[in-house]
Amino acid sequence: MRYSLITAFACILVFSGCETEIDVVIPADPTPVVYCILDQDSPVQYLRLSRSYLTDNASIPPDEPDSILFARATKVAVEEVIDGKVTKRAFFTPVDIAKDSGYFPRQEHWVYRADFIVKPETDYRLIIYIDEYDQIAYSSCYTVGNFEIINPLYSEVRYIHMLPDHNLSFYWTKSLNAAIYQLGFVMHYLEMKEDQTLEKEILIPLKSIFYLQATDNLFSYPINSTNFYNYLAETLPIDPTVLRKCMTIDAVIISGGEELGYYMRIQEAGQAFNLMDYTNIKNGIGIFSSKVLRRINGFSLTEQSIDTLAYGHATRQLNFVDRTGTRDGR
């Protein structure tokens, strides 16, 4: 009898031990995904906080609608630290935003907002406390220094010639602690349709340059004017009923912190599998960094550039008027 029981028990053990199905998707606490680029030119700061979730198929939205966002009550704060002491603390509150076009797993969405001015060359600490998981994520960054654009300048008397025969070169001074600079333009233009005229603007980012550990105090970089027209052609919608007129363009340089530089460098290298390798968020993933924007407003394009915008092969379908304010003399 005893042997029979032992035999039966051993059989149960053996057969149950032959179970081969393994559930590889094991529920776990979510990971905070944080994006916060402190804007040193703005009194308002934004932070995007979402959470990771497990799924067998990333193209299918999660079953539970709250799977990508933490509760609104999550505590988010940024501290300004000078000489090792916290001199200012700002709390972020969630605000609903209109989402851009594209794939989003849920309709409702919010980002966190706080009103404070960010100082240059100063330590900032980010702290996120997630009540529902008793979890904390944190980070720190040293904000970038101010800098100046020194060419193009004098928009009162200088034009910008946007043609390959003489490409424009940007010159600017060093922004301390910056690792990346993005050069570009903001173009102000009119959209005329029947009796309606709208003033619009478009940011044309042209080139990102990495200067990690640069010792120079003055930088220069030429702009490829063909990219200017190509970007407009790819970005502005073609609408034969709309007539457009270029008014002025602003020269823009944005300097970004070291963390942003590393992150963008990996992204631009096209290393998709390394995309999330760079993070400076402890107990989470993402980026906490800062940026400064400098802009010289109000340049006019040379007349040849305006004609190229109107009739050049890249942008002719965008219906910009030529130097005479018409298209094909009409």
Partner: protein, 146 residues
């Protein structure tokens, strides 16, 4: 053994030679020829009798086919002038052209008009000139402002 090695060597050499054989590349360019060009060098230095040179900036530099086209603003090429560069190059077909150079005064108050610029701050002075471009040669012009 030696015969075998020899055959193997011949076989490998044949493969190598066949692999290196390439189609004949035509030694003409299909009638495409580079256009002859010459160079214009503009020595755009700033000097002025009454106003410090660091209060005058380069504003414009253009090349046109003739003086009337300068007047109309129909330029062949224009330079993005800067305060960091006083020499500008234009690559042009051989022929006769005109250039136009513009400087602007950035002094405050009435210093610009007192120094001979029309108007005050942002007042401009223009100059123009004729030059010839010859194939493979560099022509230099120096804009002078009255």
């Amino acid at each position: 053994m030696n015969v075998k090695s020899g055959l193997l060597a011949i076989f490998l050499a044949a493969i190598l030679i066949a692999a290196c054989a390439r189609e004949d590349v035509p030694d003409d360019n299909g009638g495409i020829e580079a256009k002859p060009t010459g160079t214009l060098r503009v020595l755009f230095k700033i000097s002025h009798p009454w106003i410090p040179v660091n209060r005058i900036v380069r504003a414009e530099l253009h090349v046109a086919k003739d003086a009337m086209e300068i007047y109309k603003g129909n330029f062949i090429q224009s330079a993005n002038v800067t305060s960091f560069q006083d020499t500008y190059f234009f690559y042009l077909d051989p022929g006769t052209y005109y250039y136009e150079a513009v400087i602007a005064c950035i002094c405050g108050g009435d210093s610009c008009s007192a120094g001979g610029f029309p108007g005050n701050k942002w007042g401009t002075k223009h100059t123009m000139g004729k030059f010839d471009i010859k194939e493979d040669e560099v022509t230099q012009v120096i804009p002078l402002f009255q």
